[in-house]
Symmetry: C2
DNA sequence: TAAACGTGTAACCGTATAGTTACGCATTAT
DNA sequence: ATAATGCGTAACTATACGGTTACACGTTTA
């Protein structure tokens, strides 16, 4: 994908969530708002690295920044996750279906494509 | 993240979902299994590009391949999406909370950090 | 058996990404 | 005032990623 400066909300959200460190930051913020430095302290990478992750999370509106003196508190904003949830919604019915009829499924499809009896050469 | 050859299931799944084309492929497969070429035909990119996306989806176990003659059918396997769903689960309570008490939240945190009365210098 | 088909892989390219160190700039403390 | 603190940004590096074209290989058709 050439153009990553996307604004489609779901896209931005999925992209932000693709990084394990960013997901861990969100997990951390479930405990409550924290200043940037404290967040960084929880990870084995440098403070600037976390700062950049926070920027991405900010741009995806998954966190909200509040300045207070020289601190910048980051607060979780879970609202964009709704988009992920509703995307998942379409799959809920699928992940319960067992794979028993999988073979039949595929063969039916094959038959449709070729106009043949499934199983025949 | 330097090492992308991860096997942690949730990680692989989130990563696979980070690309809009791959998500669209999954959406397409909800209609039923389809041969690779037919999937590729639904997208504006080249067939090899889709072939690589399919490989990633396969490695994330989000699709299952079935060979039949010279066709390779791809079948949706939504099971790994459970991991995403359970990750999201932790946030459900958050995305309903309105932002009314946000200020209080932050100031409380500030007080905790500094040992001061919120609002005082 | 030879041609056509369906599909994956290799090699390559340009951009995005995550990380690092060095630095700048407010804000608070001395 | 000056120093220390908290944090973002710039510049740079290495690698991952998505896309393309060329090709290989098994399967089906003629």
């Amino acid at each position: 994908m050439r153009n990553r400066s996307v604004t489609y909300s779901a896209e931005a959200t999925f992209h932000a969530l693709s990084d394990p460190t960013r997901r861990a930051v969100l997990d951390l913020l479930r405990k409550g708002a924290q200043p940037a430095g404290q967040i960084a302290g929880a990870f084995p990478v440098s403070r600037p690295a976390i700062s950049k992750h926070l920027r991405q999370l900010r741009q995806a509106r998954l966190v909200i920044e509040h300045r207070r003196g020289r601190h910048r508190f980051y607060q979780l904003n879970a609202e964009p996750l709704k988009a992920v949830d509703s995307w998942l919604e379409r799959y809920r019915s699928f992940w319960q279906a067992n794979l028993a009829n999988l073979k039949a499924f595929v063969e039916e499809e094959y038959a449709r494509e070729t106009g043949r009896e499934p199983g025949k050469k």
